[in-house]
Each structure stands twice: as C-alpha cells, then as structure tokens.
Symmetry: C2
C-alpha cells in the first residue's frame, strides 16, 4: 500500500514556538525589569561552530534575549575555561551559559560541563539535568530531544505504547530522547555502533517511531520502514556534491510512501534545536528571577 507521507514542518513548529516566546519574553522582561541574557563560549575557531553560534545569536536577538559570546583561543587550558564558567555562574546578569561543542582536543567537555551551574545549563548537558530526566521530572532538557518531543506533540503523535527505535546513544540526543520517550510511555530500543546490524534492521522494521541520530548519510533504508511509521531524522550530513542529507534515506522513503510522516533535512529537527535553546534560556531566566517557570514540557 502506497500512501502520501506527511512531511513534518519543523521550521513552522519552531517559528510558532519562537512567536510565543517573543511575547512571553516581553512580559517577563517587563516584570523582572531586565531582559534574559545568554552567554556563549567558543573555544578555538571551528567554522561549523561559528555558523551555529551566529544562528543562536540571531535567534536570541529576534526574540529579545541579550547575548554575549566569549571567544577563547584554541590553546586555552582547562583551568582558564573553568574559571570563565565560574565567573559566568556568579554573574547575576547572565541567565544561561552555552558551551559550544566540540572543544579542542586538549580540553575535557565533561569537566567543563560539570563547572556550569545546572540552573544556567541551557544545553541541558550537566549530569544533574540529565539525571532529572531519568527521575521523570526534567528541568532543562537538551535542546534537540526537547525539540523532537515538541514536534511529535505539535502533530498530535502520542508516543504512548509506540514501538520506538532510537539509533544513537549520545549524551546530546540518543540517551535523553530515549529517556523522554520512555517517560512518555513509548517502548524504546536504543541502537548504536555495537548493535548487530540485523538486530537493528529487524527492530526498525517493527517500529512505529524511528529516531535517527548517528551522523551517517542515508543510513536508514526505505525498505526497513514499517507501514505507518513516523520517522524523525536528527542527522545533518554534507555529501561530496555539497547536498545536505539526514541519517534516513528521505527521498526513497518518500518514494516508497510507507511512512506516515517524516522530517526533512534541512527544515526538520534543526530549527527546533535553536528554538529550544531560546526556550531553555527563558525557563532559566524565570526560575532565577521568580523562583518558578511558566513553561511546561
């Protein structure tokens, strides 16, 4: 049976969220007598990181969030990085701290993230914030998984009872989205580089929901897809010809038409990540200023 797969418009969902946030930020800035402020830390001069940071700064500006970027040289040592984070922790004008990853090889992201005050950890990567997800009562949630949950909600896809495969076990995406979906009562299997390929294929073939986050172009094949499945693609891979593709073979999945819904790359999960960074900054600001947040999961 061939049907038309719905293309999930992450950009629209992100824009709707940003629209709401802009309104909220006006209100809470007035109430607090100041605007939310995000501090970004960039170490070295990774070009992709610079592009990401420019996106984040632009989104912040549009929404009425102040931002400041601290650029440190590539040869910064761990102590200096940690000290900058401590200064930002103590600075009451700063509500959110974003450490742009990856760091140069001589620096430990684990150690640096541990320095961030969990209440200012707008990337949601501090172990305390990750652990809160495991307790079922999250506060600041990593931006991409948070965006995926909103996308599902925006299209009225309830994860409850859905057989779900998460491909990838990173701290940024795979592990937290698996926890969030488990909290939402999906039945989740986490696949990764050490999973047997035939197990992976078998499991995807039985899945109502597939989240791909491994960074391998067109890894998930159209013939693995179950009728009526929902496909969420976190991958952004640039091919030799310059084209951007995800981890799921979007074109052939569309042709086969078995999926109920699929995210495009670009324009799917990507815009949601930046929007949820803004949302986390607003949430951190509210908690710091008022002791609570009006934002729900």
């Amino acid at each position: 049976m061939t049907q038309e797969s719905l293309i999930l418009n992450g950009k629209k969902v992100a824009n709707d969220l940003k629209h709401c946030l802009k309104h909220k930020i006006t209100q809470i800035s007035e109430k607090a007598g100041k605007k939310p402020k995000l501090a970004v830390i960039l170490v070295g001069d990774n070009n992709a990181s610079k592009v990401y940071i420019a996106h984040k700064e632009k989104a912040a500006q549009e929404l009425g969030i102040s931002s400041i970027t601290h650029c440190l040289p590539a040869d910064t040592d761990q102590k200096d990085l940690n000290n900058l984070i401590k200064t930002l922790n103590e600075d009451e004008t700063i509500n959110g701290i974003l450490l742009q990853l990856p760091l140069p090889a001589n620096l430990s992201p684990d150690i640096a993230i541990l320095q961030i005050n969990p209440l200012k950890d707008v990337d949601g990567l501090h172990p305390f914030n990750l652990g809160l997800i495991m307790t079922g009562k999250p506060n600041l949630i990593p931006c991409t998984p948070f965006g995926i949950m909103r996308l599902l909600q925006a299209y009225n896809f309830n994860p409850k009872g859905l057989k779900t495969t998460v491909i990838g076990r990173s701290r940024l995406v795979g592990k937290p989205i698996a926890e969030l979906l488990t909290n939402a009562s999906a039945t989740v299997t986490i696949m990764h580089s050490k999973s047997r390929l035939n197990d992976l294929i078998d499991t995807v073939k039985q899945s109502d929901l597939v989240i791909a986050a491994i960074g391998q172009p067109n890894f998930v094949k159209a013939e693995w897809i179950k009728d009526g499945a929902i496909l969420i693609d976190v991958g952004i891979n640039r091919l030799d010809d310059g084209k951007l593709v995800g981890d799921i073979d979007f074109e052939n999945c569309l042709k086969e038409g078995k999926a109920k819904a699929i995210t495009p790359v670009p324009g799917g999960v990507g815009p949601l990540t930046v929007a949820h960074l803004m949302l986390n900054t607003v949430k951190a600001f509210e908690i710091q200023c008022f002791g609570y947040s009006s934002i729900e999961l």
Copy 2:
C-alpha cells in the same frame, strides 16, 4: 533442545565481594585513621523496611563499617527530614547516607533525595549520580543495577551486542540498568506497564538477556524464553502460601531448560544489592578521605 540451565549464585558472588571489601576496609581504615560510617534514615515503622535495615546493619558490622540508624516518627514533616539530611551532609564522620524507601505518603522522596550530598549518596539515587551514568562515567551507582553488572561479569557474560529486554522503568532498577547495559554496548529495550503485551512477549522471545524488575510474581513465562538466554530476576514477591518467587517463572524455565543461565529467588540478585551498598559506602569513604577511589565498575 533441552539443556541444563546454570543457576547463577548471587549469594556466592556477593560473599566474594564482601570478602574483598573486608580486606580493603581494614587497609583504608588504617590509612585514614578511622572506619567508614553509614547513616541510615528510617521514617515510620514499615516492617519490611526494618528487615532490610537489619540486613544492612549486619553486613556493615561484619565488614568493619560503622553504622547509625536514625528512626523518625511516621508523622515527621518534610522540613525535619530535610534538616536531618543536611546535618548528616555536614557531619564529617558520616560517609554515606541511606534514606530507606518507601517514605510515608506525606513525604516526597524526590525532595528528600535532592538534599543528600551526591558524594554521600550511597544508594545512587540523586539525579546527579543518575546523570553521571548517562554520561558513561558513573560514580555511585544504584545498588541493584550495580549488583547485576557484577553478576554478569562474575560469570563472564559480556553484554556487548546482546539483545536485551529490561522489564520495568523505575529509578531504582529499570532505568539505571538500561543505561549501564547500553554503556556496556548491549542493545537494550525498556518495557513497562504501558508497553503492549504482544510487543513485550515478542521482544523477550528475541532477547539474549532479560532483566525483570516489575514486582509481578512469575510474570515472564517459560515459553517466551529464547534458547541460550540469560535471565536476571530482580523481583521478590511473596505468594499467598508464603513462598517467595521472582518476576520470572523460575520453576518452569528450569523445566523447559532453554535458558543458558537464570538467577534464583531468593539467593540471586538480592544479596548483591546489600553487598553493593557496602561497596558504595567504601567508595564514598575513599573519595572523601583520599580524593579518589580504588574501586572500579
């Protein structure tokens, strides 16, 4: 094909561990000039809790760990409980704090656990310690999942690539064992009360490793078991006739003989839980006294 299933002797593995710990405690107590000390908090008079605490006190005494139990009345309010925890956090003679669960209904275990200094959280239930498991660099690990990992290791069962079903999504067992097994490169599916029963049965039928932690007597049936599977039973359920059984139908699984290995109830996972509480206490003591621990996962 019927074979003989190996009955995994958790009691022996626990006793071997306690033997090593006793030796280590003698050494580190001498080095530090004091013994490790565990503070236990019991609120109200739940009889099962009293039995568990007696087991823990006995194990501590045998190994050379001091322990003190604070018994609070059932009508203790949250503030008083939190204050006791804060006092124990600040008390340098106390290395581990164990809050016996469940608490009376008027108290929040989440709020109470958040008060515990993560470095003294020998139950491993603080969000910070749970989050460290997600980062792949755990410190204090919840005792039952920690015990299961040791049991697998003791019998040379490497989880890498094994198709694994975890039944149960609790903070105490299901979620942390799923994270630990994912870190150890198993392919893990978490099942729970909202999973479809046919999905659960199908997945168990394909699994090389099954961890059952739902508290339903004999829930996992012999006919669901894959040839050569390893079965780990966390459940302890008392039947009307007084008999203790697990969440896996041990007797029929043994009769069918398809499993490669199975834990009995009692004598399987249970003794490992108490032994790992002792291990966590030693680890916390070492970190507090010397700044590092000699104990590995």
